[in-house]
């Protein structure tokens, strides 16, 4: 008899990742001894390319097996019983595709069947989701005719079909225009009330705006985990702006970590991180992006 849990709004879930490693070959690790505990709310994953964000998300989504380590969802080992999470999972992969000959309704009904949801409410739920991602007008056209952004929105809709309690979004804002990005952020905030949401993005401002907690990753390791303010604390009073002559820019960059360079006529306005700045530097409030660049450099 399989354990069936009713995930109500009051229930707090826990995803416990212990010493997780994924080895691709002799020398290359996707994840290396990665441990973290994730609870209800939004966890933003940040890290440069190859940090292991997508690998971690695929393993949590049960489509990839770890080389070692465990993931416990409310105490149940996912590698032994992946179906425990599959019923309550919403997953938007980074480079997913669609069946071009199906229309949006047919595709979402198909995905709903995979997730094991149906009944009389399925069609109205799909309609509302399609309205919410602004695809209802074209819902009867083959998905093969959709633009990249529209396909991304279909991806978002499918992740929400089964009232998921664990939601994994891998680079969800790719291809979305600014208005859609704002709408997506609002949606995520609504989701986080009673779910675990794991979100990766290269756009640090997206993570900074919506994540409750942030995990910084580099080369398969977890290098920082905590509230955004806690991570920003690592560069507090270390962020400055100075005007640098164009001839001195290269030497300046070699000495300091420049996080932003803006051209100002013959000079450059450089935002940088330093323990001791140069003369006439202006101290700036630190941001998550500063901390991210500082910690992953």
């Amino acid at each position: 008899m399989k354990r069936i849990k009713n995930y109500t709004n009051e229930y707090s879930m826990q995803l416990e990742i212990k010493n997780l490693s994924k080895k691709f070959n002799k020398d290359k690790y996707g994840l290396n001894d990665f441990s973290i505990t994730i609870e209800n709310g939004i966890l933003g994953l940040l890290g440069p390319n190859g940090a292991g964000k997508s690998t971690l998300m695929k393993i949590i989504a049960t489509i990839s097996q770890p080389t070692s380590g465990t993931i416990l969802f409310d105490g149940v080992d996912l590698s032994k019983d992946p179906n425990v999470i599959r019923k309550i999972l919403g997953y938007l992969p980074q480079d997913f595709g669609v069946y071009p000959n199906l229309n949006a309704f047919e595709f979402l009904e198909y995905i709903a069947a995979m997730k094991g949801v149906g009944g009389a409410n399925l069609r109205p739920r799909i309609e509302e989701l399609l309205e919410g991602v602004n695809l209802i007008e074209v819902a009867k056209k083959p998905i093969g005719t959709y633009s990249g952004g529209m396909k991304q929105r279909i991806g978002i809709a499918q992740a929400l079909l089964n009232n998921p309690k664990i939601v994994i979004f891998d680079e969800p804002t790719v291809g979305l225009d600014p208005e859609e990005r704002v709408r997506f952020r609002n949606l995520i905030s609504d989701l986080a009330n009673d779910s675990i949401v794991i979100l990766s993005s290269h756009i640090v401002s997206d993570i900074e705006t919506i994540a409750d907690k942030v995990a910084l990753m580099k080369k398969g390791h977890l290098i920082q985990h905590g509230f955004p303010d806690f991570i920003i604390e690592t560069v507090r009073d270390k962020v400055f702006e100075s005007v640098i002559d164009s001839t001195a820019l290269t030497a300046f960059k070699a000495k300091f970590l420049a996080v932003n360079v803006t051209r100002k006529k013959d000079n450059f306005l450089v935002r940088y991180i330093a323990e001791v700045p140069i003369n006439n530097a202006i101290s700036c409030p630190a941001s998550l992006e500063d901390a991210y660049l500082y910690l992953t450099k």
């Binding site: 695929k58 989504a61 049960t62 489509i63 990839s64 097996q65 179906n83 599959r86 019923k87 999972l89 997953y91 992969p93 997913f96 595709g97 669609v98 069946y99 071009p100 000959n101 199906l102 047919e106 009904e109 198909y110 995905i111 709903a112 069947a113 995979m114 997730k115 094991g116 949801v117 149906g118 009944g119 009389a120 409410n121 399925l122 739920r125 509302e128 989701l129 309205e131 919410g132 991602v133 602004n134 695809l135 007008e137 074209v138 005719t145 959709y146 529209m150 499918q158 929400l160 079909l161 089964n162 009232n163 225009d177 859609e180 709408r183 609002n186 949606l187 609504d190 989701l191 009330n193």
Partner: protein, 520 residues
């Protein structure tokens, strides 16, 4: 020249560095082994009347070169006819289109890459055949020249032509893979048919396979040596009459200059085909040029209105848990039906009607396997579409993906194949011939199980397409051992064997999908 070499090299490596190619090479070794039967085998592969040659280097070389030429024409086209399609799908084509490379140079590179892929298989066959010369060979010293020359004159020009033809088919028929596959299926018997039109030895000028000249040489040798009046050579897997086989000594062919020139002529024709293709090729813009009106109508422009409803998740109707497989079956069936051009269903309808009215034996032995064959892309798509469309992230994370999804995919395939065969099933049922009904059902399961198993194992469609083409070709040639759908009247034992093969394939499909899901 360097750029051409680099393109060919990259293309060749891209194609050969795959599990599917490794499977193809292993299959080639096995097939090459069967080209030279042992004296106790129940078949022969090259026979002049009742005569076969002693297994010396010349005979093995000629026999395997002829078989390789025919075999690589049969499967070669299916193995290599996706080089340009891949460039289009991956977007590499658009990058190529912006470079300075000429159409001819690009297509030549593709054809040469095709050629080297087929040449690799040929080399495997040569190595296997040479091992057979060493193991089973009679007559020393080994005549190396007469072993290798048949490959040079027969097989190599032949595979060069099919390489160019594959490029031409991709240019002419573009995205219509179904039409490409079906057109080639009907072209091959035409080529063979031309050779059998009459006994005019000059016909080797129209013999792209290059086998006619050697066949004539063999006939005249046997007729002269044994005072016979044989007029044809049989090649392929020839079953029966093995007890009456007589052996003769074959020391090689007297290669005439005219024949050698004819082979060069075919290479020249291949270049002309490429030249014509280059004139037609629109550098990955052909769909736009042909369908410009259609595309305008299709293009979806959607503005974001100001009053888009915000999703309130807590307010959405709650869908209830249902873990049945019928919604899958419905959608899988829908996808199978919608594959390919709509007008192709007129051809299917023609086949469907033919199954009602053609004499029942012909309907079963010829129409049914051909009707099933022309759905090859649908069958090949069943278990490979997840990877091809990159939806495997969803399907492999589905609730019970094996028990529910894979089962539903197979059921949908069987429903479609049985629906196509239904007129014949109906006729047999009316006659009370339930054994044939059972055999057709088993045949239908076999196709689907084979496509799913080979698709998952090889990670693509190609392997199944080649196997299914060979199988169908053997079916319409009425080769009993490969009759998986009871076209030739077999007993119950044969039906039981097919059932066990089906069970094995289904188990194999589930096990391989299980491993695929676990080892992403």
């Amino acid at each position: 020249m360097t750029s051409l070499k680099n393109i060919i090299r990259a293309d060749y490596l891209q194609r050969t560095r795959s599990y599917a190619f490794l499977v193809t090479l292993l299959a080639s070794i096995v097939i090459a082994y069967t080209f030279i039967p042992t004296p106790t085998s129940s078949y022969s592969t090259l026979r002049i009347g009742n005569y076969v040659g002693y297994s010396n280097a010349a005979w093995i070389g000629h026999n395997t070169a002829i078989m390789a030429s025919v075999f690589l024409w049969l499967i070669g086209f299916y193995l290599v006819n996706d080089g340009i399609k891949k460039d289009k799908e991956t977007g590499v084509g658009q990058i190529i289109a912006t470079t300075a490379i000429s159409n001819f140079k690009y297509l030549l590179a593709k054809a040469l890459s095709n050629f080297f892929v087929l040449l690799t298989i040929t080399i495997i066959i040569i190595l296997m055949s040479f091992s057979l010369v060493l193991i089973r060979g009679t007559g020393y010293p080994i005549n190396l020249l007469q072993f290798i020359l048949p490959y040079l004159f027969i097989t190599i020009p032949s595979i060069f032509c099919v390489s160019a033809l594959a490029v031409f088919a991709e240019i002419i028929l573009g995205r219509n893979v179904i039409i490409q596959n079906v057109a080639f299926f009907f072209l091959f018997p035409v080529l063979i048919g031309i050779l059998n039109l009459n006994n005019n030895s000059k016909i080797f000028w129209v013999d792209v396979l290059g086998t006619k000249y050697v066949s004539d040489e063999l006939i005249s040798l046997v007729n002269h040596q044994f005072k016979e009046n044989i007029i044809t050579v049989s090649s392929g897997y020839l079953f029966g009459n093995n007890n009456s086989i007589k052996y003769f000594l074959f020391e090689g062919t007297n290669w005439s200059i005219i024949y050698i020139v004819s082979r060069f002529l075919w290479i020249g024709i291949a270049f002309i085909i490429l030249f014509i293709s280059a004139k037609i090729f629109n550098r990955f813009d052909f769909k736009e040029k042909l369908d410009i009106k259609k595309k305008r109508a299709k293009k979806i422009e959607l503005q974001v209105p100001n009053n888009v409803k915000q999703i309130q998740l807590s307010q959405l109707p709650v869908a209830t848990p249902t873990f049945g497989i019928w919604p899958f079956v419905k959608t899988e069936l829908l996808m199978l039906i919608r594959m390919g051009p709509k007008w192709f269903w007129f051809i299917n309808f023609g086949g469907f009607i033919a199954l009602f009215f053609v004499p029942i034996n012909s309907a079963h032995q010829i129409v049914l396997p051909v009707l099933w064959f022309i759905q090859i892309n649908r069958w090949a798509d069943i278990a490979t579409k997840e990877k091809i469309n990159r939806t495997h992230y969803f399907t492999y994370a589905a609730y019970q993906p094996l028990k529910r999804l894979l089962t539903a995919q197979m059921i949908a395939g069987v429903i479609l194949s049985l629906s196509l065969a239904s007129p014949l099933i109906f006729r047999y049922a009316l006659n009370g011939n339930f054994q044939s009904v059972y055999n057709i059902i088993q045949g239908s399961i076999f196709i689907i199980a084979l496509s799913v198993f080979t698709g998952i194992l090889s990670g693509g469609k190609r392997f199944f397409e080649v196997v299914f083409f060979l199988l169908t070709y053997c079916n319409v040639s009425l080769i009993p051992i490969l009759d998986y759908f009871g076209g030739i009247n077999h007993g119950y034992i044969y039906s039981i064997i097919i059932m066990f093969i089906n069970i094995t394939l289904i188990i194999g499909a589930f096990v391989s999908r299980y491993h695929e899901i676990r080892n992403q």
